[in-house]
């Protein structure tokens, strides 16, 4: 009798909001559900609350409904797309297991993108899609980033604050925040102010005498596996999102292959490690901003305890702080504590110029010299005026500086020996593996201010194509080309097999693309000549030098014109029925030729490379044909 609970007290123990919702959601266990149901029959308050929760759910669902996507693509086309992607994905996976070393070959890019296209043999269309979009060499990109980084570090006179987030990502893609490391560094001191936040929310702050100590701090928090820890310590890697530090990670990886890929604005470099590398590392990745070459993320993919893990370091914030007394004191105290004697002898002279040497003059403030013409000729002979990143500066002391970033050491040596013979020319060429000293500084191109922003980057700009797109995308010209090549493959005894036709298509597209990008390079060279040797700048040049410039110009125009002619012929062969658009009056200035060539190139890329938004190709072909006629006319 007395053991029974007081019925009133049962009624009065109201149900929590969580349980009410769980009740509605059917998430309460059998017994709890019955108890709740029983209580609800007797408790007005809880019934009211339950109804309120139901109302909130309804209004949430209403908002959710109004946030629905616009009409989806029809199911059939989505399924067809998925099937295409699956097929390509399967083919790629199979190719990878069959020939694991085939991929570097496909993606390794020789010194110039245009010639990369030429030297690559013809492979199935899946592979073709991959290399069309890879006019980037991983090594050159990394070198570029290192050079930018060293020069940026020297320019920054303030205190730089970096926030790096470190996550561990497992094979399903779920990530666990391990730590957030925020560092403050001052150019005037080797010391580093650090705050390390751990996963459980604690924050540890300290001032380290040098950034070499950072690794120990960080690894004590995030606990890499032992082999990885040993490796990064050996490499003297300083954790952070930096190209120079990234280079240390990949120095002893035991293989040469490297991949570069552009995904929208981001360029990703991948560096696989030798299988069974003692560190357990499978590969490392560096993601950079494709226009500023600033690293944004580093990944270390490693097998630890048999499971694949990825340590991902992401730059989540960066600030330049003014060097206040309080901040300076922070670093000074570290110096007195731990820096090597003399390390902080005197603060640097803030008025000292970063470069004691001569400064580059802009085209507006200088005139051309015969030496500049000689350099232009030498570069032209070495084909170094076609899309490679090489700039020629007239310096304030009368010398000429040739500065550039190249894809390969071999190419660097070749150009060094070419330019060696010229007196009064300083040459600064960087290639992967070149030591970038403390004085390294890349100057902005002398023509920079006179070009519209969209054309600042000379190499053909890859459209944003993602890895995933390779598998699913189609080439808009594919069906037209198939129709053209299939009957021919039958005639030649290849029985029209799918792969034979695809090979023919890939070969054709390669030829088209190669000419198209070379046209862009030629007009780019023309435009640079026009800027460098403008009417005003050449006035005082001897006649022979001016003659040489004119010959250079003619050479580019002729190549341009012959490419346009060949490309027209190729197109006429495949799509003779498409008429040319009516001709517009041709403006023959280098600037408008460049615009034309770059439009032409974009059109070619959109037609002949994988595109995720295929359109109706024939109108584009008509436009392309008429552009080619205009370009051809300009050169003749």
């Amino acid at each position: 009798m007395t053991t029974l609970p007081d019925p009133e007290s049962v009624v009065l123990r109201h149900i929590s909001d969580e349980d009410l919702l769980a009740y509605l959601d059917g998430e309460l266990s059998g017994e709890a559900h019955q108890d709740a149901a029983h209580h609800l029959t007797r408790c007005w308050d809880c019934r009211t609350k339950l109804a309120a929760i139901q109302d909130r759910i309804d209004s949430f669902m209403q908002v959710r409904r109004s946030l629905s996507p616009e009409a989806l693509e029809p199911e059939e086309s989505a399924v067809a797309e998925l099937q295409r992607r699956l097929a390509r994905h399967a083919a790629a996976a199979q190719a990878e297991t069959r020939a694991p070393r085939a991929r570097p070959w496909l993606l390794a890019i020789p010194s110039r993108p245009a010639f990369a296209m030429l030297t690559l043999a013809i492979v199935v269309i899946v592979a073709a899609v991959a290399w069309f979009n890879a006019p980037l060499s991983a090594d050159a990109v990394l070198t570029r980033a290192e050079v930018e980084e060293t020069s940026a570090a020297r320019q920054a006179s303030a205190v730089v604050k970096n926030v790096i987030q470190i996550d561990r990502v497992d094979s399903t893609g779920s990530r666990r925040r391990l730590s957030v490391v925020s560092t403050m560094a001052d150019n005037a001191s080797p010391a580093l102010s650090v705050s390390i936040g751990t996963a459980d929310g604690a924050v540890e702050q300290d001032v380290l005498a040098s950034n070499a100590q950072l690794l120990l701090r960080v690894t004590s928090h995030i606990r890499f596996g032992q082999p990885l820890t040993r490796y990064v310590v050996e490499q003297q890697w300083v954790p952070g999102v930096s190209a120079v530090e990234y280079r240390k990670l990949i120095r002893d990886r035991g293989v040469e292959e490297a991949f570069a890929e552009r995904t929208g604005a981001i360029v990703e470099l991948r560096h696989p490690f030798r299988p069974g590398h003692p560190s357990g590392v499978v590969e490392t990745r560096l993601r950079l901003d494709g226009s500023s070459w600033i690293p944004v993320e580093i990944s270390i993919v490693v097998v630890e305890d048999g499971a694949r893990q990825e340590y991902r370091l992401t730059r989540t914030g960066v600030e330049l702080l003014a060097r206040t007394d309080a901040l300076a004191a922070l670093f000074a105290s570290a110096g007195s504590r731990g820096a090597p004697p003399g390390g902080l002898a005197a603060p640097p002279d803030p008025t000292a110029l970063p470069h004691k040497r001569a400064r580059p003059l802009s085209y507006d403030s200088s005139v051309a010299t015969p030496l500049e013409v000689d350099v232009a000729l030498a570069l032209h002979k070495a084909r170094a005026d076609l899309g490679e990143e090489i700039n020629v500066f007239q310096m304030s002391d009368g010398t000429v500086l040739v500065q550039g970033v190249l894809d390969r050491q071999e190419r660097r040596r070749q150009l060094l020996s070419t330019l060696h013979a010229l007196d009064g020319v300083h040459v600064e060429l960087y290639a992967p593996g070149t030591q970038t000293g403390r004085r390294t500084m890349l100057f902005d191109p002398p023509w920079r201010s006179s070009l519209p922003p969209a054309l600042r980057m000379p190499p053909p700009d890859a459209p944003p194509i993602r890895v995933a797109d390779f598998a699913g995308a189609t080439m808009p010209m594919y069906s037209i080309l198939r129709e053209h090549f299939a009957p021919r493959a039958v005639q030649s005894g290849a029985q029209g097999s799918r792969s034979a036709v695809d090979e023919a298509i890939a070969a054709f597209a390669t030829g088209v693309l190669r000419r198209s990008s070379d046209m862009l390079f030629q007009t780019w060279a023309l435009r640079k000549l026009e800027l460098q040797f403008s009417e005003r700048r050449v006035q005082e040049l001897p006649l022979s030098s001016r003659d040489q410039i004119e010959r250079l110009r003619r050479a580019h125009l002729e190549t341009l014109s012959s490419h346009a002619r060949e490309l027209s012929a190729l197109l006429d062969d495949v799509v003779p029925q498409v008429p040319r658009d009516p001709l517009q009056t041709a403006d023959r200035s280098a600037a408008s030729l460049l615009t034309l060539a770059s439009e032409q190139h974009q059109l070619v890329r959109s037609l002949f490379t994988a595109s995720s938004a295929p359109g109706e190709p024939s109108t584009a072909v008509g436009r392309l044909k008429s552009m080619l006629t205009q370009i051809e006319a300009a050169g003749s």
Partner: protein
């Protein structure tokens, strides 16, 4: 396990659909089954991802990428016990990656600007914070914390608390708390006195 268990496409219990890579591969039905699962899941999942990333195209792309991963897993003879929550988990992670990438670009732009003019500029944003939906209606959603929004959206897809917990790598208890809290805020914004 019976021979048919791998193909038990009993759609009444979509939630519990289990796929066995080895069996599917043996019977050569992998692609066909994947396509069927895709067709069933697509409308709901695309809508879900759309609500996170704000673009149908991206949502479709993310879903297909998830199916390529599913193919990879099954090809390696993995057994996926609850395909629906597996897919939600992968698309969720892909969507978050995309949102973070967007953020990173903003950060880099800021750094670029800082480098250019040496003026100090800050740009620090956590990945989660960017989960701010873009349309006007999104305002209603924007009062929710990212976690609350994710929980509510997944619940609205019909996932159980445990499935939501699996997708978000948290506990069912935490899901219950987020849901309740989210709904409460939602009510306040809609002049519900409760």
């Amino acid at each position: 396990m019976s021979k048919d268990s791998a193909l038990s496409l009993s759609w009444g219990s979509l939630a519990a659909l289990r796929l066995d890579g080895r069996a599917l591969r043996r019977t050569d039905q992998l692609d066909a089954v994947l396509v069927e699962v895709y067709v069933r899941l697509r409308p709901a999942v695309v809508a879900y991802v759309y609500r996170l990333v704000g673009s149908t195209r991206d949502a479709e792309d993310i879903l297909q990428t998830a199916f390529l991963s599913l193919w990879d897993q099954l090809q390696r003879d993995a057994e996926i016990r609850n395909v629906r929550s597996w897919i939600y988990r992968v698309v969720h992670n892909l969507a978050m990656d995309q949102i973070r990438a967007r953020d990173r670009r903003e950060v880099t732009e800021a750094m670029w600007a800082a480098r250019q003019d040496s003026a100090h500029r800050a740009a620090s944003q956590s990945g989660e914070a960017a989960l701010v939906l873009r349309s006007e209606l999104a305002h209603a959603m924007s009062i929710l914390s990212p976690r609350e929004r994710e929980c509510l959206l997944l619940r609205a897809e019909g996932l159980s608390y445990q499935e939501i917990a699996d997708v978000l790598q948290t506990s069912a208890k935490a899901v219950s708390v987020h849901l309740t809290r989210g709904l409460r805020k939602f009510a306040h914004d809609h002049d519900d006195p409760a």
